[in-house]
Each structure stands twice: as structure tokens, then as C-alpha cells.
Symmetry: C2
Subunit: 223 residues, 2 copies
DNA sequence: TGCGGATGCCGATCTTGACGTCCATGGGGT
DNA sequence: ACCCCATGGACGTCAAGATCGGCATCCGCA
């Protein structure tokens, strides 16, 4: 019976132009690994972990399955490699945004911009973090949670530094802000991402930043 | 090779006491269906869609697999039945919360409480909505998105009614509030849910409500 | 310049694991 | 006591992850 999960099938696959280094082309290991990661990212982003077949990834990369297995022990390892990079990326950007200024309002705007830019990125790596379909695997869960957790820690440190809120409460507020950012950014992408007539990235980010800042600014400053 | 996703394996399965109506017991169709749904919910919540086997569900319900297939055409249908109920549930509660008062601050608190109660519910149905591992299936995606979308619509209607914000912007703010609620509630559950020494549900909900209210209250009232 | 060996890649295959059905059976109704 | 039918253990099927024999390519050497 047709239980096929043939979701994003209709989209124009890049099969016709298999990046560089198509079928049967010798290539340095390092460069080939990069290409495999890139292809895998595309497939995982488009189809999710479960629906993505190793055949798909190999085909998109223009190689056969054995070569894929020469570079990665298994499907999970490949996925985790991508996920870890994607997680590190947004966390580092969040850290940079918070340390780029001393003004808290500007901090909020910069951090919000990080999430909106992340979501708007053409590669779509954010889907691995925010829309993973392998959360039952503990290693995946750890990476996904790490993003919210570490971003929240960075924000909570700022909050705890400027207010008299207990650490745990500052952390909960920080998580709330992160949640606001990631959920609203994802919805913005769905509704306005490709549409020039809708709300632009900058406008949306500024709007939600305003909400966040109005919420957080009122807490009692200490000293 | 051990690619087992044996996550929540250690927990005390209710196998010893297979609910009511164990092996080989005749039962009215309607009641049996209810029991199958209940068992399926437990398995899907504990293991996720992919790791959950139909055998597991049948075994937990104390019936054999053919009986399961007499009530549901397939695994996906079973999952969707549960998901739809879980989605309707939180949406209805959100609607009730917003219509339970005319005071917007109280509305925020009530709506926030809905999400925290939902997440704290022992059955764990919220995992189907907020942590589904079948988002590549369009029907699932539709239900999951429906929760955020419809809750946000309800909130956006209130916002648009009381301010001069354009519809689209009110909606984006509403989505932000929903995101704040669901992400913070889930993190609260992980960090403080089973821990009496941490932040209690009421305290956490009130804290995040405060953040939300401070954020949203400042927007210019119309008329 | 022509040939032999080695290297490494591709097509075809195997295996596993889980969804979705078939033959014996046992209890209930008349 | 006998027939009927729901039930359950056993099974087929299939998709997808993970591997093996041919073969083309490239390099070194006479």
C-alpha cells in the first residue's frame, strides 16, 4: 500500500548539474568529504533524516554508495557531523552578537537578527536543529538542546548580571526569549520568507526585537 | 551493528498490568478502540513514531496485531488520530483561556498556563505536537503547524482588536508569544518538571507571563 | 611508446527489521 | 454438544542501510 513519504518530490533536483566532480572523477579526500557533506545537507534539509536515503545522498554527490561509506561509518555519523556544525554555528553567532555591544537593547536586536539570518540562510541548516526528526536519538537530542541551552546561558548571564533575578529565573526568561526568536523566525520564513510583498527580514526581526526588549527591559536593575 | 534507538527503555513498562481487558478478552468495539488509542499514545510518546513498532502497541494493549489493524488501517492513521486529538485539545484550551476574561493581562496568564499545563500533563501528548519525528509527512506537518497557527490567530485577533498594528504584524507578535510559551514550557519540564526543589509550574508560568505581558502591553492602544 | 600491475570506484547483492496479512484454535450461543 | 467466528502465532514482502567481484584508469618501466 502506498505509504510512501514522497513529500518534497516535485522540486527541481540538482541532478542535472551534480555540483563539481561528477561521476567517476578522482578527487582529493578532503575536498570530496566537503562535497559529500554539502550534498548530504541538501538531502537531509529537503527530506528529513528518515526519508533521506543514502542512495539519494550518493547520487546527489555524483558518487556511488561505497565511497560514501568510505568517508562516514554510517548514516547517523553523517547526520551528526552536519548537525554539530549547524549547532556550533548559531551558538557562535549568538555569542558574537551579545559581545558586540554593551547596550542591552542593541544586544537583543543583534541576537534576534542571528536567529532570523540563520533561518533565512539558503542552505537551510537550521532545519537540522529546529526541525529534526531524529530527536529520539540521544546524541541528536543533545545537539538540538545544546543550541537552546547554550544560547540561553549566554543571555541569562547578561540578565543575571544586570538584574537581581535568581540564576534559575534568569535562565527561564532567557529560554523564553530564545523560543520567541526561533519560533517566530521559522514562521516568518514560511509566511514571508520568499515573498517580497510580505514582511521583510529586517522588519520582522525588529518587530520581535521590540517585543522582547519591552518585555525584558522592565526588570529591576541591580545597583 | 547496534544502531538501536533504545532510548527510554529503562522505564517501568506497564506490561505487568495491561490496563483492563487483557489477552483474549472480548470487549465492545468502542471501548477497545479507546484502549488501543491510549496504549498507542503511551508508546508513541515514549519512543517516537519511527522507533515505535505496531507490535509494541498491540502488546501494551494486550491484543494481537490483527486486532489493531481491524481498528486502524495503518500506523500512520493511528498516529494521526492521536495527533489530531492532541492538537484540538490545546487549541480549544487556548481559545477558552482567551475568552475566559476581558482583561488582557489575565488573558496572557491564562494562555501561558494552558501551555504549561499541556506540557506537564502526565500522558505527554504534547510530545506528538512539539516533538514529532514525522514532520516530513505533510499531514503531520499540517497538524503540528495548525497548533501554532491557530493559537496565534486567536491571540492576534485580540492584539489587532486592541491596537493599531496591521494584521500581519499582530500575527507575528502572536506567534512570538506562542513560541515563548511552548519552548519555555518544554525546557521548564526538562529542568524542573519532576523536581520539587526547582521552579514550580505556577511560578514558571507566572514568570514567563510577566515577560510576555511587559512585552505586549506597551503597544499603542487604538481609540 | 607499449605494456603490466595496482588502485580505487561502480553495479549488484545481502541482510535486517518492521509493516501488514493468513491457517489453526478456543470460547460462546443455541 | 455442535457450529461459528473472533483471535493470535506465524508468515510474506519490501524498503533501505551496509557490503563484495568486475573494470576502468593511471603510473612506472623497458
Amino acid at each position: 500500500m502506498g505509504r510512501v513519504l514522497d513529500v518534497t518530490a516535485g522540486q527541481p533536483r540538482a541532478d542535472a548539474a551534480p555540483e563539481v566532480g561528477g561521476r567517476g572523477v578522482r578527487m582529493p579526500r578532503r575536498e570530496r568529504r566537503e562535497q559529500l557533506l554539502e550534498s548530504a545537507l541538501g538531502v537531509f534539509v529537503a527530506q528529513g533524516y528518515h526519508a533521506a536515503a543514502m542512495d539519494d545522498i550518493a547520487e546527489r554527490a555524483g558518487v556511488s554508495k561505497p565511497v560514501l561509506y568510505q568517508h562516514f561509518p554510517g548514516k547517523l555519523d553523517l547526520y551528526l557531523a552536519l548537525l554539530e556544525v549547524a549547532a556550533d554555528d548559531v551558538i557562535a553567532n549568538c555569542r558574537d552578537a551579545l559581545s558586540s555591544t554593551q547596550d542591552n537593547r542593541t544586544r537583543v536586536e543583534a541576537a534576534m537578527g542571528v536567529f532570523y539570518s540563520y533561518v533565512a540562510d539558503a542552505a537551510g541548516a537550521f532545519r537540522l536543529v529546529f526541525e529534526s526528526d531524529l530527536t529520539s536519538e540521544p546524541a541528536v537530542r543533545a545537539q538540538v538542546d545544546r543550541v537552546t541551552s547554550e544560547c540561553a546561558d549566554l543571555i541569562a548571564a547578561v540578565i543575571a548580571n544586570d538584574t537581581d533575578l535568581p540564576q534559575a529565573e534568569a535562565r527561564l526568561l532567557a529560554v523564553s526569549l530564545v523560543g520567541m526568536a526561533q519560533v517566530s523566525a521559522r514562521f516568518w520564513l514560511v509566511e514571508h520568507g520568499d515573498d517580497e510583498s510580505g514582511i521583510g527580514l529586517e522588519v520582522a526581526s525588529a518587530l520581535v526585537s521590540g517585543l522582547a526588549w519591552r518585555g525584558i527591559r522592565g526588570y529591576p536593575m541591580h545597583d
